[in-house]
Symmetry: C2
Subunit: 591 residues, 2 copies
């Protein structure tokens, strides 16, 4: 299995063709800085914690059955995502070479594989639960899926030699084991992994098995659980769904796998079903940041228009998964508008989730922080549900390595080709080696709105820039996006933001953070004046003086007394919580 | 230990004296009906499920250590609350006699008690975890507390002979075991139980131990857990707290125990601290229904003014606990306004939680149901977190027996005495045997606002009836409460209800339920006109026609097109979800 080309998503057909990420060099600006930090600090940080907590060690010791295994059922997947991130990073133009670490971990992983191909450090050995004895939460096929994705990345980058064969033996075991029954894994992931392995190997068994997993879902074959079958997307068949529901990361991973199956099997009905579900999810169940999933309890989508900014969940991994899904639909359909949600998620979820030093992370990305965050010491694992600040690690630490693999392979999400030319979806200064004419893009987006390409390309024009058209100037194509700050208002059916407005600048959602406000300005008492155009970092408003009462429900709809006009200072949402404890809000009540 | 008088809360001192519940007969109306259903159908329903699930059987079988124990760590407490409910019901004027069942269960419980007094069916026997090995979630002292409360009820009613001695041996064991260390139970309850046992026995060891448990709390002695110490009220000492926080039922039970300790030890500072915490909780963290606790994940209070109606938690048990706490503060301080929150909780949480047949229950009492509820079959245990309709039972089934014991003893919450006379706090038609002149109250509250007493009494005047004063007419005292439907508006800081109003009639919160609306009226599209006074069961409004868009955030704050005027039909919130699947909302967006 020697391929050594391609990125994370390389369909064999579709409207647009992806570009090998090693041919895309981000030359500066917003994402180059983040890729650099990711490629060194974040990846090394992750390895430190994986070793400290024993999650890598699980592979070395469980072979003997004597050592006590560490971590949750899904900890293996973190090692696999870490390996995947290092593969992409090692071939990224300007990236860091991790060959030594990849070879070391590959040997460790290979050593833990059973003779029949099965590989999971928490099941099947003496003193452990039986294989596949906890389909709801065992995460066995989920972990296998991430191993296969790592193996695919190894094959496409020519790194981590030996890992593609380990992955293939895992996949063969799964195809043998799950061919003829109705079992599925509580957490989707295996579907997209098997399709990508088919794309690398050409072996249709993997595609067939992925298709079976997609079709089996939705028939309540998983054991009953208090979260209900909808949590697992096992209540409604994939092609019969109306809108994404249940656990948001599960829903989005499943949808990505369904798109992969649909593309490779030419199943237009399945493709249209998932595309429709994403459309309706974007229209009714997505935060202004592009974040998905509003419930803390079961990490799930809420009902339509239930999008409270307070304690918004908006898990970082759901952001990664949204990028995965939208990119697949972009490639399949050629519909450029899918780039809009990628743009929004990258600048408002992914960019928000990671600390400047690349060593602390948000698990959940709330849109409103009423009680000041508290600092987490750099050596301290954080509790997932704290709703607090960025933390170095979590017991459920899926988001860190997920962001790392996305940022290391970000080059593959920016530009595509088809027979008629080149499309630029995401705006970053970059050089792209194309078979014909190479491409150079210059821009300081999102700080500025000018984007120029030195050859003919099609630019995505974001929906917020409607009416804007690129212009041709000799060999150059230029796009001038309107970056004037703008007021944005929510649909009347979003109860939680009624009477509020937000400010956006290009793709960037702004917020008010307490550390920027004048003395005496409490964020929960501000009202802003939307009759005045917002400035880049400030809006006009006033401060209400709430009457403190014994009971907060009154027979008069009093307008509380308000202050003289004040200036409310704004910063990009992705910049919040970087300057000490603070409160924050995106949605601002209007006067 | 022969007492045979008193109700659930009988302090030895305080501003007001409670009345023995067996001297209070509710003669008709709203609560007589509910007491009748509770005293037969609900109590029998609970016994059926306790037996079916093996929770009673645990007492019979664990003595041998051979049978597999059933249910969660706190299932014993359900048997104890069931026993307590039957004690009160058996002496309630017009109540049902459960002596046979009480004797049977008492023998079963006594048979499971260890030689040293310890009693819990899930710990300490062969094959079970060690005693007190899981202080966070073992619920051992919590269960002991409910056993002691049942023993106190047995002593005060003269029922369940033998149970008071079982309870006392449990309490002695606890005093011996926990006298000299810093351990507390993850779920408060033992505090109030030990004080009540002191009140029955006069043995100060119980009071001292209760005081120690109260003072120990707040020093992070419990093991760390992902919900944090605030969940367990173990982050801040009780007397240093600002507002109730963490798990709502835990917080309220602890507060009730702290009031009990403060009253019996004359600790005015502790009493004032808890009273202040309740004041601030009512002002900032309580739903219009009187419900407390907004978070599903950890069943906790949200931050100040975070009270989203969508997926409101408002656990039924938190309603019971609010009544317990407010009644204690009423007795301690003589401040009649504590009756207001009792009134509100009874009519909007307790009355809502129970089905008409007394055999199905809400665990959580949401204020907004966007997706139609689904019926739960009468033999089907429901998942606690479903957010669905009333269900016959839950895996965590605390609410059912809690409501049963409250309703069976409701007579003790209506009237008090002091040296100067009699106070009527809750309005129901009733006769009360008092040492001097008996009292008869006539009213059809909450359907009507006239309340008459046939002798001199002090009436509580609810805050919503401000300006109303009782009048004297011969021997009669009459209160005419204004029952005209009224608009109610939320504090501007409650983000989730901005731009909304609700309708209240007396103590009753109204709601719009889908089954009452005309064809084509979708609850999430209504807007109401608050310039027109509400009628008893209807308000005027219009229907907006939302524009369906790809993305719900727009640069224009468009007023969606709206319909001709419509009538929005209202019903009391406590009547909702009784006529098939429906959607519902209390807070109505205004035009």
């Amino acid at each position: 299995m020697t391929v050594a080309s391609g990125g994370p998503v390389f369909p064999s057909r579709g409207a647009l063709r992806p570009v090998d990420p090693r041919r895309v060099r981000i030359t500066g600006g917003f994402w180059a800085q983040r890729q650099a930090v990711n490629g060194t600090a974040t990846i090394e940080h992750c390895r430190t914690w994986l070793d400290r907590l024993g999650w890598t060690g699980n592979f070395a010791t469980t072979g003997t059955g004597t050592a006590r295994r560490r971590g949750r059922e899904f900890s293996d997947s973190e090692v696999y995502k870490h390996v995947e991130a290092m593969c992409w990073e090692s071939v990224r133009p300007g990236g860091t070479n991790y060959d030594r670490q990849l070879d070391e971990l590959t040997a460790m992983i290979a050593g833990a594989q059973a003779a029949d191909g099965y590989l999971h450090t928490a099941f099947g050995r003496p003193g452990q639960p039986e294989r596949y004895s906890d389909l709801n939460f065992g995460h066995e096929l989920y972990c296998a899926g991430h191993l296969i994705q790592a193996g695919v990345a190894a094959a496409r980058t020519g790194r981590a030699r030996g890992l593609p064969d380990v992955a293939r033996r895992v996949a063969d075991h799964i195809c043998d084991t799950f061919k003829d029954d109705d079992r599925i894994c509580g957490h989707p992931e295996i579907e997209t992994a098997l399709v990508e392995l088919f794309r690398v190997t050409g072996d249709e068994r993997y595609l067939d098995q992925a298709a079976r997993f997609v079709e089996r879902r939705g028939h309540r074959s998983l054991p009953e659980h208090e979260f209900g079958w909808r949590y697992f997307q096992d209540a409604v068949p994939v092609r019969a769904g109306e809108v994404f529901h249940g656990h948001s990361v599960r829903a989005l991973y499943l949808a990505a796998g369904a798109v992969d199956v649909a593309v490779e099997t030419g199943d237009d009905a399945l493709l249209a079903a998932v595309a429709g579900q994403l459309d309706r999810t974007l229209a009714r169940r997505t935060y202004i940041t592009g974040g998905m999933g509003s419930r803390h309890l079961d990490e799930s989508f809420g009902d339509d228009f239930v999008l409270p900014p307070d304690r918004a969940y908006s898990e970082t991994c759901a952001g990664v998964a949204t990028v995965m899904l939208a990119h697949r639909l972009l490639l399949a359909t050629g519909d450029l508008r899918y780039g809009d949600i990628v743009d929004r998620v990258l600048h408002n979820v992914i960019a928000t989730a990671v600390a400047d030093d690349g060593q602390a992370f948000f698990y959940a990305n709330t849109l409103h922080q009423r009680t000041a965050t508290e600092a987490v010491p750099p050596d301290r694992e954080q509790l997932r549900f704290g709703g607090g600040p960025r933390a170095p690690w979590f017991e459920v630490s899926c988001c860190l390595n997920n962001v790392a693999r996305l940022l290391a392979s970000l080059g593959s999400y920016l530009v595509t080709e088809d027979d008629s030319g080149v499309q630029v979806h995401q705006f970053a200064p970059m050089t792209v080696e194309l078979d014909g004419t190479p491409l150079t893009v210059e821009t300081d987006y999102p700080d500025g709105g000018s984007v120029t390409a030195d050859r003919a390309v099609t630019f995505r024009v974001p929906a917020w820039a409607h009416g804007t058209a690129p212009s041709r100037d000799g060999d150059q194509v230029r796009l001038e996006l309107p970056m004037k700050p703008r007021w944005t208002f929510p649909d009347a059916r979003v109860d939680a933001t009624r009477g509020c407005a937000a400010v956006e600048v290009g793709p960037v959602v702004m917020c008010a953070e307490s550390v920027d406000q004048e003395d005496g300005v409490t964020l929960d008492d501000i009202q802003v004046d939307t009759s005045v155009a917002p400035e880049a970092n400030a809006v006009k408003g006033r401060l209400i003086k709430p009457v403190e009462r014994d009971w907060p429900y009154q027979s008069q709809n009093e307008n509380p007394e308000s202050s003289d006009p004040i200036v409310v200072t704004l910063v990009p949402y992705h910049r919040w919580a970087r300057r000490g404890p603070s409160t924050m809000r995106i949605w601002l009540p209007t006067t």
